[in-house]
């Protein structure tokens, strides 16, 4: 456990050092890189040992606060998430140094470095915390550090708005978590996690309350629909490497919380499991449908995070179903699918956010319709984007397929018993999500990187520095590596799933061997696809060697003066689908058609606002505001009045006590 402390301290120390050395950019940068490297080595060793089956004893220090103790421990579930924090965190942190240098002072370097490292340290502590008090401290530190990152460009009004929205959301979530731990702590008589597990059984009503509190508290962070409202605002506002860490790791901490609670409190009811699966599928379909309709590419990526969280929640719900039905292998399969997809999502989503950041820095806009033709100008960045886009669609030779395939196998297993129809419909919904992801990400990659540049800025874009490309290449290599050799990642996922399902190692490894064999075959087939492509490529080369290969303009069916503006755009590409879902999307269009005999000006503008944030929430808050308007009369904004309140309050309390 000393290793974990070392990792957290390295990150925290680097955060402090980098702010102390804020005048000397090179020193600050060295501090960040040294801190990340130290944390990666220490934490990585610890996680590796734990997953390999070594027992690591807990570390317990008393704390002079009632109920609190500095109690950290490590099991496979913690180790799995710690690994994710460190891999994504180090890649994003390294990239961040290049990103800050490339922003030419638009982004304040000192607070970004500080908050980023604090965010990583808090998450590393969070996954190891074994005491509710410590857990909440790490949780709040994480939330506040992320707030610092979201609102670092606070000169822009939309960034301030997004930061405030995030702050409110995360605190509402924390409030629910406080209530949750208060309820559990009262029952157990202690805030230790082990005491929660050993506590007398909760009554039925209490169990429902715990389930709902946890769902809202953790779901607010994870972004289950309709609690996702902050996500698509905050992710675009943060600097790209921070978005990568937030989207690739931080929102997954909500799922970690749910899984940890499951491992402590045992199975939920069948109805709750069904509810989780349904919620997951709704979240996934919702997320990807809205992702398709976005023009801002970081918003598109944020919505796709909502989609992936939905897929992960579906897997977790299926695991809960297995637990509730006392079907250990099903429970294991569902949780392993969820955890494997969590790991995969962490990798490809951070890759996509990092490459999106490189594009943003090169072009200066997040509008897909101002990009295009970047593959010729940023070949590396765009090539890595292609890998990430294919991986996030769940296409076979890459890692995205592996987790989804496990979930499909759960749903379409041969002996489903009851709930077959539900399973089949869930599989169909997953298929729909997968196909929509292909539409959304062929749009993102195809319209941003391919074709002709749609703006001057895109024409002059240049490749970023190697310090930004290196981490992206590493993440892409991991995506390909897990796709071709899924066994190590599967091992990690099953070990963690065994902890969630409360199963011993031997039972887990029997299941693991079976699935590892099948996924190994899939990896081999993926390698086969690559080899076949290579063969066909060589064949094509051999055929063309003896022939004339010419270059010319794109064929435009006889039209001789095509321009870049005639290309399909980010709004028109998904239109056949967005038209089908028009009622749900409620895209707002402002059309000013050309009028008169000599039309001067015409314009078309479309925007797809978030329904939960801009349509449903105002209805709720209007009622709430009405209630609150009564006590608002007390708020006059005069200092004297507040002093009067304070003195009156003191007098009343004194009188009452006397």
């Amino acid at each position: 456990m000393i290793l974990l402390l070392g990792a957290v301290l390295a990150l925290g120390g680097a955060a402090l050092l980098s702010s102390l050395a804020s005048r000397h950019d090179r020193w600050a940068r060295s501090a960040v890189i040294a801190g990340l490297a130290a944390a990666a080595i220490a934490g990585g060793t610890l996680a590796w040992r734990t997953i390999a089956g070594q027992r690591v004893s807990d570390l317990l220090w008393s704390w002079p606060v009632p109920g609190a103790a500095f109690h950290v421990g490590m099991d496979s579930l913690s180790a799995c998430f710690l690994l994710l924090v460190l891999v994504v965190g180090c890649c994003a942190g390294l990239y961040g140094e290049g990103y800050l240098a490339g922003s030419h002072g638009h982004i304040p370097a000192t607070p970004v470095r500080f908050f980023f490292l604090v965010l990583l340290g808090a998450m590393a502590l969070l996954v190891a915390a074994r005491n509710a008090f410590l857990f909440m401290i790490a949780w709040e530190t994480m939330a506040l550090a992320a707030f610092g990152l979201v609102s670092c460009e606070h000169g822009k009004p939309e960034v301030r708005k997004a930061g405030l929205l995030y702050l409110i959301c995360t605190h509402v979530g924390s409030l629910f978590l406080l209530a949750l731990f208060a309820l559990l702590g009262r029952n157990a008589g202690s805030l230790e996690f082990s005491a929660f597990a050993a506590a007398p059984a909760l009554s039925a009503a209490e169990r429902v309350a715990v389930f709902l509190l946890a769902l809202v508290g953790f779901g607010m962070k994870a972004g289950f629909m309709p609690l996702h409202i902050w996500l698509q605002e905050a992710h675009p506002a943060a600097p790209s490497h921070a978005s990568a860490a937030m989207s690739g790791v931080m929102i997954e901490m909500g799922l970690y919380g749910l899984l940890r609670l499951l491992s402590l409190l045992g199975p939920v009811s069948i109805e709750a499991a069904f509810f989780l699966v349904a919620l997951g599928l709704i979240t996934a379909v919702f997320g990807i449908t809205f992702a398709m309709a976005q023009r801002d590419f970081k918003r598109l990526l944020a919505y796709s995070s909502i989609e992936n969280i939905g897929i992960i929640l579906t897997g977790a719900g299926l695991g809960c179903y297995g637990l509730a039905k006392h079907h250990p292998s099903l429970a294991l399969l569902g949780f392993a699918g969820a955890i494997l997809h969590t790991l995969n999502h962490g990798l490809f989503k951070s890759l996509l956010f990092l490459s999106a950041g490189a594009v943003y820095q090169a072009v200066g806009t997040r509008d897909i319709e101002a990009c295009g033709g970047l593959q010729k100008r940023l070949p590396w960045t765009c090539g890595l984007t292609a890998v990430g886009a294919a991986a996030i669609c769940g296409l076979p030779p890459l890692n995205g397929f592996t987790g989804e395939w496990l979930i499909y196998n759960w749903l379409l297993r041969p002996d489903p018993g009851h709930g077959m129809l539900f399973s089949a419909l869930a599989a169909a919904a997953l298929a729909l999500v997968g196909a929509f992801a292909v539409a959304a990400f062929s749009k993102y990659y195809g319209l941003t990187c391919l074709g002709q540049p749609r703006s001057e800025a895109a024409r002059d874009a240049r490749e970023p520095s190697w310090i930004m490309l290196g981490p992206m290449a590493l993440l892409a290599a991991l995506c390909v590596g897990i796709g071709l050799f899924p066994s190590p990642a599967l091992h990690v996922a099953f070990a963690a799933a065994g902890d969630v399902a409360g199963q011993a190692r031997p039972a887990v490894s029997a299941s693991l061997d079976e699935w590892s064999r099948l996924l190994g075959a899939i990896g081999l087939l993926g390698a086969g696809v690559c080899a076949l492509s290579a063969l066909l490529w060589l064949f094509r080369g051999a055929l063309l060697r003896r022939r004339k290969v010419g270059l010319g303009p794109t064929w435009s069916c006889g039209f001789t003066a095509p321009t870049a503006r005639m290309q399909y755009t980010g709004s028109s590409y998904p239109m056949p689908l967005t038209r089908v879902f028009a009622a749900a999307l409620a895209t707002r269009e402002e059309i000013r058609p050309p009028l008169g005999y000599w039309p001067v000006k015409a314009s078309f503008e479309s925007r797809t606002p978030d329904p939960a944030l801009e349509r449903w929430l105002p209805v709720l808050t209007a009622k709430f505001e009405e209630w609150l308007s009564a006590p608002r009369r007390l708020q006059y904004g005069r200092l004297q009045l507040y002093l009067l309140y304070v003195s009156a309050f003191l007098v009343i309390t004194l009188l009452w006590k006397l």
Binding site: G394, L412, P414, Q567
Partner: protein, 299 residues
Amino acid sequence: METLKLVASYLLILVFAPPVMLGLITKTKAAVAGRKGPPVLQPLYDTLKLLGKGAVYSTTTTWMFRLGPVAALAAVLAASSFVPLAGEPLISFNGDAILFAYLLALGRFVTATAALDTGSSFEGMGASREAAFSSLAEPALILAFASLAYRSGALSLARMFSPHGGPQAAASTVLALGSLFVVLLAENSRIPVDDPNTHLELTMIHEVMVLDHGGPDLAFILHGAGLRLALMASLLVRLVLPDWPAAGPVGSLVLGLAATAVVIGLVESSMARLRLIRVPQLLVAAICAATFGLILTLR
């Protein structure tokens, strides 16, 4: 020896089934229209001719444009190894049906991105339509797979697509067959979803995506598209037709594929292409049919 025979028949089917099926469809349409039509092997001659040609690449394009046809064909070839083309498949395991569906999706992804690489609005249009319609075909495919998987007790194509169940399963088989046939028409750009022979780019889907490809690239694309048709058709054939002992497994499959080609030709001769706005309705109907089939399986 057995393995050698299996691989040899596999290779023969992979090479010849796609062009012959396309040729038969054209021949049927010509016969219904009272024409003579091109020879059945014409698509094969076209492919061979294209393989011998040079190519012209647009200056807008990058490596993605060149990778698209190659990767798409490789994906379909890999998908073919799960389909029992020669009595049994090359590879079969639990869950290969999902891999099959996703390999076809991989082919779509690379074809669509290669189309977007040209920067032409026509090809963007094709990619956009392909992405949209295949999105709606995907759930129908998976639902049909689900009902067959539950019925056969395995999630591998070889076990799912074999005639069984007797008369009481006939209704669900017919519904699965119907929805899969619609998926086949949609995914392979046949009438009523898309008209491969239209002369107007504005109304095309698949053909307009590959406007800029030529030479060996176009040959790969045409063969890959034909192979996709042949694979889905052979699944349908395996579902309904039992092996005919006189012809052996390969012979029965070939006869079944020929029959399917004639049926597709008849469908194409007897109806017009739907308006693009109507296509989603057809695909949703296929989803409903697959759901009903599933409910009948669960009974």
